[in-house]
Symmetry: C2
Subunit: 499 residues, 2 copies
């Protein structure tokens, strides 16, 4: 049986120009050589496990189908896609459970009583390996899709953890409000997933990260229910929401999330500038005291991709001509989206690029995975890694990361390129988001080795192991063992523990 | 031997008018009947403990004196002051240790090896009972006063946990910057104490609470060193700073704190208004989208205290006359301090009271404990409790809390009054800060019973057990046992555990 494993339904048809440009730019001959599906072949759920689970679950609550079990056993990271493509997934979950809220507490204690482990599944957009089942024991996936409450209060709302971002935002927009959280995964990720990955959205400079939006959670554990007092602030030590944030769902199953609401709709102002260099753009951003809602600064290569991949219409050709006449054809593009108030970085060493690049980024803000999908199908391996660092460390981190990538590439003799952009701003530093593309033999091993070298380079240069994708199995291995022990002492016996 | 136990050195001489007014208003005959000192009589540290400690500590690092041991064994809350006054402290610590940073790690493992428990002591301004030693075992106090690093970076600074607020702020002011944290304890509390109590300052509406200012901590535990990556953000689950915040120093000894810095000095604008009622003032504040740095709304009784206690000069008399002619003599005073930008609540049902009340509050912002001190010496028991609640709950919480207080007073037949002000604002709700005064027999039991009734009333009406004083022993007892178990699973074997 073949099952699609790429992100979303976007087949990348909207990115023909980019593909044509990329294959020309690097002389990569890109022909469709993969349909984006994986051949899956796993044993059926053993009869005794079916019987046991149906002892405390109704048939409507549970799915034993191969496709459901497989799709609930991995996320959307590039290593996971390659594991699926090459049949390297060690196992899948034994069943998928879809509980209603009133059933969750009993379900968790029943599962624990029968020696199960459980992995919580939201929108399935995890890129940290947090959904991969490991080990020999009985493992089920608990899908939160039936947890759909929506209850608006004074400047906050209580939202079921299973609501997708786009559903929750639509519900609050009807009240003239917004939650302000717009991750690239917005169309698929759930509100509960935002919390358990400690997500941050594209407009975090204006609205903050999920930790700033979160008033509290209700969390079911195999030991009982935990919930925050719904108050604006407390100082009584670690609270349930603190455990839930970035906890990968190992501390409890989040059923409800109380999120602040903000007045909406906002007036948006679009601008773009091209800086003489990525370095000049970084300097300009580092000197700001307040930031635009979105300020996305691409390095020279990502800028070239954006400008050259934008197609070949007369207006685009004129735009490129104009830029090169001004001497900025090797520059770094900054796209700016302001909400309500207009704030701009200093304009030294830069030229205006009008509003169009910002508007077109905004229009396609959730469609980027489509480009990745068509690269995948063309036999390439696209991937991203993000980190954050203080302004004092970020330039060295950027140059050392590029060097690590190209040193490895040249040593191994595979094809590949790496580029980056600054995606989230703080007065102390920024998130820098790397995109890289590989083409070579043993692509899974090649990718894993490349990721390991990049992450170690981040850490050696003052960067965090991750900025907003959660730790999961892929990033935990880089963390301080003492800190991991401390974190583990919080994990739930059913939901936590190494898999 | 007699030792002073009140807060700071302020003898309250600056509050003669208030005292005169209070004694008249309630026919309380206030004569100095206590010198604010406690008679202390505890056994010397046993010889074998002295020997054992001097086995791994130098004489300069340790103090066995009765006075030091006593003063490190309690905080400044009213129950603790009464315990000291009436000789009800069950025990004191065996010694006080003053380590330098490079010695802390070895010290903690040595102490654990010899079966000690340790309590971390910062500025000694705790009001949560977190400094009280309990139980029979060997207990030492570790005073952080020698941890005095100061190292400024890009829009943040690394500060030794033992620096007092006023010292840290002076150091950063020299660079034209501010930390923005101004708790009432500012002159005495330490930066490490700000973190371990999850403090928030008087200007939190503008700068946020310590959780918003904190970039990371370095924390020594008996198991090793924990430190945050110094990055603007990460999403790798619970970090050392998350454990340190509100942890009462039970998860580790914080040696360094990385705090964001803000541009300073700020332009301050002072205003005051009198609302027709406390209720009208609360409604006006609840409708604001952004807040002044300080917006302190007193209820009718606290307003009467402020206006009538302000003395009897011609200008004050004229001011009071003017207010009553405008029909606001039973109103609620709102004092406003704006930083840089002026934002004001709607003016419906209110009159301007000029800038003077706000300026005089600002001038005496750290001196309020002086008033408490002179009340103490006059034979009264002053106390405060603070909570936070959403706008939808706060009015009922306020009225029910007053009712609980006066019902108990009338049932028991003691003297007492309670008043409140809104002290910190959030778009979802506010912190409400209650001040009450008791006069009666068995004053310790009376106070403890009163506090218990007020805290239970907070919780029954959607309030948090505490907003910014930390949980300590006094508030933990009201928390969810499952949450406490989860919190305890983080505690350090030397620093944590029930005392």
């Amino acid at each position: 049986m073949r099952v699609p494993v790429l992100y979303g339904q976007d087949d990348g048809k909207g990115f023909q120009n980019e593909i044509r440009y990329i294959s020309g730019r690097f002389q990569w001959d890109l022909k469709q050589d993969w349909d984006g599906q994986a051949e899956i072949d796993f044993p059926d759920t053993p009869e005794e496990i079916r019987k046991e689970l149906l002892g405390f679950l109704t048939p409507e609550e549970i799915d034993f189908s191969l496709e459901a079990r497989f799709l609930h056993s991995l996320g959307k990271s590039s290593p996971e896609i390659l594991m699926a493509k090459h049949g390297k997934l060690s196992r899948i979950v034994d069943a998928v459970i879809y509980p209603k809220e009133e059933r969750v507490q009993a379900l968790l204690s029943d599962l624990l009583k029968h020696d199960y482990r459980a992995i919580i599944y939201g929108g399935g957009t995890s890129v940290s390996g947090s959904l991969l089942p490991f080990g020999k024991g009985k493992i089920v996936s608990i899908d939160t899709k039936n947890l759909r409450k929506f209850d608006a209060r004074e400047n906050f709302a209580i939202v079921g953890s299973g609501l997708r971002g786009v559903e929750a935002e639509r519900a609050v927009n009807k009240l003239g409000l917004t939650f302000g959280n717009f991750p690239e995964s917005f169309l698929h990720s759930t509100v509960g997933g935002w919390v358990s990955t400690k997500a941050t959205g594209q407009e975090s400079n204006y609205y903050g990260g999920i930790e700033n939006m979160l008033l509290g959670v209700k969390m079911e554990t195999s030991q009982g229910t935990l919930h925050d007092d719904l108050v604006p602030r407390e100082s009584a030590g670690l609270q349930p929401k603190d455990m839930a944030l970035g906890g990968d769902g190992k501390n409890g199953l989040i059923t409800e999330v109380a999120l602040k609401t903000f007045p909406g709709p906002v007036n948006r102002y679009f601008q773009s500038r091209i800086y003489n260099s990525f370095y000049d753009g970084i300097m300009a951003l580092s000197r700001m005291r307040v930031f635009p809602a979105v300020a996305r600064l691409s390095d020279e290569m990502e800028t070239e991709f954006a400008l050259m991949g934008a197609g070949d219409s007369a207006s685009i050709r004129f735009f490129r001509k104009y830029i090169s006449l001004r001497g900025y054809s090797k520059g770094a593009l900054l796209i700016i989206v302001n909400n309500n108030h207009v704030v701009l970085p200093e304009h030294k060493y830069s030229m205006s690029a009008g509003s169009r690049p910002a508007k077109s980024w905004y229009k396609g803000r959730y469609a980027r995975p489509g480009l990745a999908n068509i690269l995948w199908k063309s036999g390439l391996v696209p991937d991203t890694l993000e980190t954050s660092a203080t302004w004092g460390n970020i330039w060295k981190l950027y140059t050392e990361t590029r060097k690590a990538f190209y040193d490895f590439k040249n040593g191994q003799g595979f094809q590949g390129e790496i580029m980056a952009h600054i995606s989230h701003l703080y007065r102390q530093g920024a998130c820098i988001y790397f995109t890289f593309i590989l083409k070579g033999d043993d692509e899974l091993e090649l990718l894993q080795e490349t990721r390991d070298r990049l992450i170690r380079t981040f850490m050696a240069n003052g960067g965090s192991v991750t900025h907003h994708h959660g730790k999961g199995k892929f990033f935990s291995q880089y963390m301080d063992p003492l800190l991991l022990r401390q974190q583990a002492s919080y994990e739930d016996p059913l939901l936590g523990g190494d898999r």
